[in-house]
């Protein structure tokens, strides 16, 4: 892998984002709106009902961490779509760019975007709701890594499907995380799901992270096994996602789809 190529692709993405107000909104505006809507709704619920006082911390923590996963996933697919929309895909792959370098650049972009989103949302949460996400402690780093890994797997799978099936599949770039959100235990514990859905939730790495977050916020303790299972699942899904993406990319080369999308 050539780091110079990865750096060049990162630079491309940075230039594209800095010139596109709507793209910048993905990082600066929409996550903040998410936080404000959920946060104020929870404050209202606390006022009108005898809701659990920790509800606000559960929901705000969940919104912040969900956005980490969502942005890590989205940025991978949208980076690819950028090259399709710009009809620049052929210039990239007609150059000395390895597929692994292309993917690595989107992964790094995912880290950077997730960190920016985290900085914005944690500051806003502190300002509006006096909630400090970092009170979770050092384990927050492990949560972050697991969410990032799951975002990467989802992003790579989504991009693979877009590469293979083309423009009709573009909407998946934004939709896929919401397909798995109901079984990710983001806003409620796995135990409230119907019994036949619970085994599915246990196969979702993010469910262990959100369960862990709630345990810490409520009981100041968490189950490290959950994090280990989450990490192990993430490693398996990363490998599957890499295999599927590679397979779809080669199929797209066979069918001449790269050339079709790129010009």
């Amino acid at each position: 892998m050539n780091l110079r190529t990865v750096r060049a692709l990162l630079l491309k993405y940075a230039f594209i984002c800095s010139r596109n107000t709507f793209r910048a909104m993905d990082v600066f505006f929409w996550p903040l709106m998410d936080l404000l809507v959920w946060g104020f709704l929870t404050l209202y619920l606390l006022k009108v009902s005898s809701a659990v006082p920790t509800l606000i911390t559960f929901l705000i923590g969940a919104v912040i961490m969900w956005n980490i996963l969502y942005r890590a996933q989205q940025v991978i697919s949208v980076s690819f779509l950028d090259d399709v929309w710009n009809r620049n895909l052929l210039n990239i792959f007609a150059g000395p760019v390895r597929l692994s370098e292309y993917v690595a650049a989107t992964y790094v972009t995912g880290i950077l975007q997730s960190l920016i989103v985290l900085a914005i949302l944690s500051s806003a949460a502190a300002l509006f709701y006096s909630f400090n996400i970092f009170e979770i402690g050092l384990v927050f780093g492990a949560f972050f890594v697991n969410l990032l890994l799951m975002g990467w797997s989802l992003g790579l799978l989504t991009t693979g499907v877009i590469v293979r099936f083309g423009p009709p599949a573009e909407a998946l770039a934004w939709a896929v995380p919401f397909l798995i959100q109901p079984v990710s235990a983001v806003f409620y514990p796995v135990s409230v799901l119907p019994p036949f859905i619970q085994p599915i939730a246990k196969l979702v790495p993010a469910s262990y992270v959100f369960e862990g977050m709630r345990q810490i916020l409520e009981h100041k303790t968490y189950d490290p096994n959950g994090l280990l299972i989450s990490f192990a699942l993430n490693v398996v899904y990363m490998l599957i996602a890499a295999f599927v993406f590679r397979h779809f990319f080669e199929e797209a080369r066979n069918k001449g789809l790269l050339a079709k999308y790129g010009s």
Binding site: A8, N20, D82, R87, L90, G95, S263
Partner: protein
């Protein structure tokens, strides 16, 4: 003795059983040669170029560039090549210099600022360096694509209808620049075009393809003598029409 830079053998590309873009194309290109790939729409020229760049995988046959197989040594080969097409663009919302800077980084150009300035001046678009690419005219974008194509001093340049959107004056200037650079640096060029002036002025040898097959190969004057045309355009029309007639008669 000529050194073969490109060796294409029995190239075939089937997208489906009834969609064969390239049936059987073979050719060699020598070092420093400007080679024309000529043929009507749907002849298989662009698919051939895409296979040479590793963007599309051939169904069968082999492509060797600098003696290496494009399927096995794609990155190594592409580091020494470049590509420009009238139908492929650079990111529209970036400035001209930003686009060239990114590609100079991808190709690992050392003196990138000087190189970019030199090429912008050569293609007479130095006044556009801070313009947003999407605001350029088609002709300006074509010249920007050519700047990108020369960034890494390619040993092999693949051009897909490079002058398609240029007016006759600019097309003439671009042809002269291409000739000059090819002479100075002994660049090998493969050029697909519908512009007969482009082909006859630039290309030392021409491969005429039709329905994915090679119909004729030779110098422009050889093709004119063989097919009895007064110009390359007449040859083109004769071959294209006779082939279409054969197709219509089911021969």
């Amino acid at each position: 003795m000529f050194e073969n830079i490109v060796e294409v053998r029995n190239l075939r590309k089937e997208f489906a059983a009834d969609a064969v873009a390239v049936k059987d194309i073979s050719f060699c290109v020598n070092k420093g040669e400007i080679f024309g790939l000529l043929g009507p729409n749907g002849a298989g020229k662009t698919t051939t170029i895409h296979m040479m760049l590793g963007l599309t995988r051939p169904s069968s046959g082999s492509i060797k560039i600098f003696g290496k197989d494009i399927e096995k040594d794609r990155v190594e080969i592409l580091q020494r090549c470049n590509f420009a097409s009238a139908y492929v663009y650079l990111p529209w919302n970036l400035k001209v210099w930003e686009n060239l800077f990114i590609f100079s980084e991808i190709y690992g150009i050392k003196n990138r600022k000087e190189k970019i300035e030199y090429l912008l001046e050569l293609f007479e678009i130095e006044n556009l360096r801070n313009k947003i690419t999407g605001t350029l005219s088609a002709g300006e974008q074509t010249r920007l694509n050519l700047c990108k194509a020369f960034l890494n001093d390619p040993e092999l340049l693949l051009l897909d209808e490079p002058t398609a959107s240029l007016d006759p004056d600019l097309a003439d200037k671009v042809r002269k620049i291409l000739k000059q650079l090819q002479k100075e640096r002994s660049i090998t060029v493969i050029n697909t075009s519908h512009n007969m002036l482009d082909v006859s002025e630039l290309c030392e040898r021409i491969l005429f393809v039709q329905h994915g097959n090679v119909i004729a190969e030779g110098r422009a004057e050889e093709l004119m003598a063989k097919f009895g045309g007064a110009s390359l355009e007449e040859v083109f029309i004769t071959i294209a029409r006779s082939s279409r007639l054969e197709g219509a008669l089911g021969k």
